[in-house]
């Protein structure tokens, strides 16, 4: 069994163990989950240190992927149409490797914050482990069918995690999330089928779901719907552009970008803290990763054609998300909207198709994957103590919760892009990419970069204003004295989780090469692929 399979399926084993343990042992569930995630961190750290970013540039060549595992999985003879061939095909390159480490770290934080879950522990941890498997699988899969299976497998555990352990409007939030995502992915399925019938595996001569073959224009059948040469039309539009748009919408719902973001504030706010952490920390990245791995790599021509629009959507998301965050009175909603704003930089960076832009987008995803769990964790802390998240209910928290305030300040300043933290480098690179794009490849106009920087300014405004309203001044709490007693400062478990995240954000801010070195080769390879078109 290879390393990646172990990483993916170990949580399932742990989940089954939790499932068969009797109810009396329910205290042990969280330790099993913790041990599982601990092992995953060790594994993914091992993978990280042994990953050679310059040798394993991945993208379209199988030999450039590390830890490749390719086994025949489904082989069905379909009569006149040859064989249905689906491989169990895993591998990592610079685009996917960082997310494995990120996923295991975010999962660790989520498990730590799951200490507060009291009801129905067995179901909770089993679903959490199932979700863990699905996410790891999405980042490792190189066969589109396998990718889709993992991608859809994420939905059901999340539906129940939000719906059963969430807040007051959890039913609405859960179904909204599910319907939005499924809407995107059902149409994605149609494009997958279209790609399947368009692409031939050069080794066996039958149709294939292999993503790497889909990236090579030579493998397309002449006259097939997505063939590059034929330029098939659908509704007066190039079929390839349409395919790209459908896939992009599916992933853009996940990212999410304005105007497909409306599920996010509901889902994030209603979800229990650990699930908000996973949602913001990893699942939004699945969208960004999907755009890079699938939309851009398989449809490079359409990417170039629609880069301007992608950039525009990115800038709109940045500014619209930030303006919305400014208007929120609920702290968790504010952070949810700030996610929309920050993920806009990812799209802007990708749209620039420059080395700086895409590296920036990747780093922004990692950085946001560290900072947003921290922010949601912090919101969870006060919500658990007094069951309120209204900004107006608190004033002068700094006086009674000094440790908490320290971490809030770290998280807020890191998020607004203070130099020294990861978000600064990430946003700076995305903006540099967007700015130079006009002179390098002429895809994005300069004003988009300027629009993006406006978002940073707005980010500073809503975060600092919140800091001032909630933490400074004399202590006035809505719940009076009883709240003051309940609002105890952070305990050791919470300090541990928050310190880990702060250190990560700081280290990546000071030594961004830790991430850049690993992914640079793949980013350059991706740009080469796109510019070939």
């Amino acid at each position: 069994m290879s390393l990646l399979s172990l990483l993916i399926f170990f949580p399932i084993v742990a989940g089954s163990l939790i499932l068969i343990l009797p109810f009396k042992q329910r205290e042990s569930y969280k330790y099993i989950a913790l041990a599982t995630v601990g092992l995953q961190i060790l594994l993914s750290a091992f993978i990280y240190f042994n990953f050679d970013g310059n040798a394993f540039t991945g993208i379209a060549t199988q030999s450039n992927y590390q830890l490749v595992e390719r086994l025949p999985w489904i082989n069905l003879d379909l009569g006149s149409l040859g064989k249905l061939q689906i491989d169990y095909f895993l591998g990592i390159d610079g685009l996917s490797m960082p997310f494995l480490l990120l996923t295991s770290i975010v999962m660790l934080i989520a498990v730590i914050s799951s200490w507060e879950i009291k009801a129905n522990l067995k179901g909770y941890f089993v679903l959490l482990m199932l979700l863990n498997t699905a996410v790891m699988g999405v980042f490792c899969a190189l066969d589109f069918f396998l990718f889709y299976v993992f991608y859809e497998l994420m939905l059901l555990p999340l539906y129940f995690l939000i719906g059963m352990w969430g807040g007051a409007r959890r039913e609405y939030a859960a179904i909204k999330f599910f319907l939005y995502t499924l809407f995107g992915s059902v149409f994605m399925l149609l494009v997958i089928i279209g790609l399947y019938f368009s692409v031939i595996d050069p080794e066996t001569g039958s149709h294939t779901f292999n993503m790497l073959h889909m990236m090579n224009p030579a493998n397309y059948v002449d006259g097939s719907i997505f063939s590059l040469v034929g330029n098939q039309q659908l509704f007066g539009m190039s079929a390839r552009l349409l395919g790209f748009i459908v896939l992009f919408i599916a992933f853009a719902i996940k990212v999410p970008v304005v105007p497909l973001h409306t599920w996010l504030p509901d889902a994030h706010v209603e979800a229990p803290t650990p699930v908000s952490i996973i949602l913001a920390g990893i699942l939004l990245k699945v969208g960004g990763y999907g755009i890079l791995r699938i939309c851009v790599s398989i449809f490079p021509d359409a990417t170039i054609d629609s880069a301007w629009w992608l950039g525009l959507i990115g800038v709109v998301s940045i500014i619209y998300g930030a303006l919305n965050a400014l208007a929120q009175t609920d702290l968790k909603r504010l952070i949810a909207y700030s996610s929309v704003s920050h993920m806009g930089f990812v799209l802007l960076g990708i749209a620039s198709v420059t080395a700086e832009g895409i590296s920036g987008a990747m780093l922004q995803m990692i950085s946001h994957g560290i900072l947003s769990p921290m922010l949601f964790f912090l919101v969870g802390v006060i919500y658990n103590r007094v069951h309120s998240r209204e900004i107006g209910d608190f004033k002068g928290l700094a006086l009674i919760m000094p440790k908490y305030t320290t971490f809030i300040m770290i998280a807020f300043f890191a998020s607004l892009g203070l130099p020294g933290f990861s978000a600064f480098i990430a946003e700076a690179f995305s903006l540099i990419g967007a700015f130079t794009s006009e002179s390098v490849n002429g895809l994005l106009p300069r004003w988009m970069a300027i629009g993006g920087s406006l978002g940073i300014l707005l980010g500073a405004a809503y975060l600092l204003w919140t800091l001032q309203r909630m933490f400074f001044g004399e202590t006035i709490l809505k719940g009076g004295e009883s709240w003051r007693i309940k609002l105890s400062d952070l305990n050791k478990r919470e300090v541990f989780a928050l310190t880990t995240l702060s250190i990560l954000a700081l280290v990546l801010g000071i030594l961004p090469s830790l991430a850049f070195d690993k992914m640079n080769g793949s980013v350059l390879e991706l740009i080469r692929l796109v510019s070939l078109k």
Partner: protein
């Protein structure tokens, strides 16, 4: 009479030699008689003897079907009124499996078991209806089509009315019988027209097809539509779906499970048999189009998907909801029929096989939950997920499969059907086929909305009453667990089914 004399020996010979290929059906006939006799002499408390004879007999006939499987090419028997090929054999295996599940379901259903009539007569109907279903998948002449449909219909009328106690149940039985007989009368009229046009009842005959091509097109279309009405009643596609919700709700749950599965699948088999000669004819004579099945079925498929799925949203009775969703599934499977190719047949067989598992499991769960708690309305499922854990976990698996999401077999089935339709689109580039794909995708999202109502009430909402239902273990739950496990296993390794 005299003129037939020279052919008589040949006719008799072909008749007798044909019986060798009908061993499964002959076994079923014997089982049918055996079940009656057994139940007469050993009624027992639960007609156990009849149950076992029925199960074992059907299994033996299924084995006989299976043994025929390897290397069989197409054979026609009895002057081409019956065709046996791989497709028919696969369909027959599905029918046998569904019938066995139905028998087990009857055995564990309290309402039927406690009925004063007992269940012996119901077991007796099973081999009989199975013969009808098998014949439906093999019919190649108008007469055979009519006889087989009627065999299944008459048995179904009896089943629906079997335990009718309330007005609603009686209404369902009456509605079903009336609607069914009208449909078959209409179909018979259509057949008589076809016979009048051609002088042959054998749809595979060259004379039949060339005869039709000489008749004016509107007349042929009328006759075809009339015949399709009869088949459509079995398939319950729109606009012949009106009977389904009432009948499904009113009939005993095991009967509903059976009716929404086996006759429907048989309807598909029959449809394939019926269209096949016309498609071959259209390929060899491209200038003469007898009847545009593709467009007609596309429209029917679109309507069934849209009306079935959208109507299901408004249902709160779980059985009614599943009835409407079954209409949607019919529409979806028709998508593969429209593309009419070898690959489409593989797709449709896989889809219907999986559909049989999902549907039987879903109704078993509905019945089990009703027996435990008395809940038939989805709103009464509130908070039950925490009490009937096993049942509802299985239910979620089944519903995910019905929606068509991985990692269940429902997804693979959906993928196959989509692929078949896509393949058809890339050949024909017709906007109709494209709209099938789009509507198929959209209605999948719609179906999620109502399927998820069940876990929504069972798990997400808290129960208001403190009533704890009595939990009684019951063998049916093991069957359901087995079926749910199958759905996941076939979803991960669909090769097993080949």
């Amino acid at each position: 009479m005299q003129e037939f004399l020279p052919y008589l020996s040949q006719l008799i010979y072909s008749g007798v030699s044909g019986f060798a290929h009908l061993i499964p059906e002959i076994i079923l006939t014997i089982v049918f008689i055996l079940v009656i006799v057994t139940d007469l002499f050993f009624p027992g408390k639960k007609s156990s003897a009849a149950f076992w004879v029925c199960i074992i007999g059907i299994t033996i006939s299924a084995v006989a079907v299976y043994l025929k499987n390897p290397g069989l090419i197409r054979i026609s028997l009895f002057n081409n009124s019956i065709i046996i090929d791989q497709l028919a054999l696969s369909f027959k295996l599905i029918f046998s499996a569904v019938t066995i599940l139905f028998a087990i379901f009857i055995r564990y259903n309290k309402a039927l078991q406690n009925h004063k009539k007992g269940v012996g007569d119901l077991y007796m109907l099973l081999p009989a209806v199975l013969i009808g279903l098998n014949l439906m998948s093999m019919s190649a002449s108008l007469l055979m089509i009519y006889i087989s449909i009627e065999m299944v219909s008459i048995a179904s009328y009896l089943m629906v009315g079997y335990a009718s106690a309330t007005a609603k149940q009686t209404e369902a039985a009456m509605k079903y019988a009336l609607f069914g007989s009208i449909c078959s009368a209409v179909m018979l009229y259509g057949m008589s027209l076809l016979y009048a046009f051609t002088g042959s009842i054998n749809i595979g005959d060259e004379a039949f097809l060339t005869g039709l091509s000489l008749v004016s097109e509107p007349a042929v279309s009328l006759a075809m539509i009339l015949v399709l009405v009869g088949i459509g009643f079995k398939l319950s596609f729109v606009p012949l779906h009106f009977w389904t919700p009432d009948v499904y709700e009113g009939a005993p749950t095991p009967v509903t499970a059976f009716l929404s599965t086996a006759p429907k699948i048989a309807g598909f088999a029959l449809l394939i048999r019926f269209i096949e000669p016309f498609t071959l004819f259209a390929e060899t004579h491209p200038d003469k189009e007898l009847f545009d099945f593709k467009t007609a079925l596309t429209i029917v498929a679109l309507l069934s998907m849209i009306i079935g799925n959208f109507s299901a949203i408004w249902q709160n009775n779980v059985k009614r909801m599943l009835a409407y969703s079954a209409i949607g599934h019919t529409g979806f499977a028709l998508m593969a029929i429209v593309s009419f190719s070898d690959q489409a047949f593989t797709a449709i067989l896989f889809y219907l096989g999986i559909y049989a598992i999902m549907n039987m499991a879903a109704f078993m769960l509905v019945d089990r939950i009703e027996e435990q708690t008395g809940a038939t309305d989805v709103r009464d499922y509130k908070g039950l997920g925490k009490i009937l854990k096993l049942e509802f976990v299985c239910f979620v698996v089944v519903l995910v499969a019905l929606t068509g999401l991985p990692p269940t077999a429902g997804f693979v089935a959906k993928l196959f059907v989509f692929s078949a339709a896509f393949q058809q689109y890339s050949i024909s580039e017709s906007l109709w086929t494209f709209s099938l794909l789009i509507v198929g995708a959209v209605t999948t999202v719609v179906s999620l909305f109502y399927y998820l109502k069940i876990p929504l009430y069972a798990f997400l909402k808290e129960s208001e009453s403190e009533l704890v239902p009595t939990r009684k273990s019951n063998g049916i739950i093991y069957v359901v667990i087995f079926l749910s496990a199958l759905l996941i296993i076939f979803g991960l390794f669909p090769d097993i089914l080949k």
